[in-house]
Symmetry: C2
Subunit: 142 residues, 2 copies
Amino acid sequence: MTNPACPLCEGDGGLLVFRNEDLRIIQASEAGFPAFYRVVWNRHVAEFSDLSAAERQVCMHAVVKVEQVLRSELQPAKINLAALGNLVPHLHWHVIARFEGDSHFPAPLWAAAQRPVDEAQVAAVASRCIDINRLIAEAMAL
Amino acid sequence: MTNPACPLCEGDGGLLVFRNEDLRIIQASEAGFPAFYRVVWNRHVAEFSDLSAAERQVCMHAVVKVEQVLRSELQPAKINLAALGNLVPHLHWHVIARFEGDSHFPAPLWAAAQRPVDEAQVAAVASRCIDINRLIAEAMAL
């Protein structure tokens, strides 16, 4: 089931880290947030409760795997999870590692920036993401 | 396990809709968003992945029950789900019914407002919340 007007039906939505028949994990790398991942359900559904109970477990298993790798590799101040989809109503979970001193902390990253981007911090996190991407793929393959 | 400095250890955090030994559901009623609920894990843990797999299922079951009642009673344009916790790192899930024409739609409600609050829309949604609160409690009791 795909929707031709939907960007998450038309493309992966970011750097592909893992894919199976149910879902994919992409590195979104929004500006200032290299450790910004998305778990995208492959089928075009809008809401989490559009999934069956079994599918919801599969989906949150992937969200947790991403969260666990980010926590163990980056020791972030906080993980932010969100399924919003007001603009792109195709189920996708944001999984974002947040750090004290990031451009928006402690505000949600959809709020106004609190300070300029710390380029050195961003570069340090970004440099870890090749390993993180591999570890996420390995964790999903188990 | 409680943390004396944590507002979600010290109080319910909003109008109590349901509680069991694991979690509670509150109506948060943030300004302009009467159908803003939170599923708060009772034990003081920061991250979703601090829960066991069984606990995560219990937690998301509650999130989905709230989402299902909001969808069936309000037919919102979108449900927004989020576990952020940068300021209050005690696991809580936001479950928010969003409507076209609400003060922030389609932006996340942590972003800048897009337009003034539509007081009539807010009042219409708020007037449904007594029933919604009862239906959530009934859904959780099943």
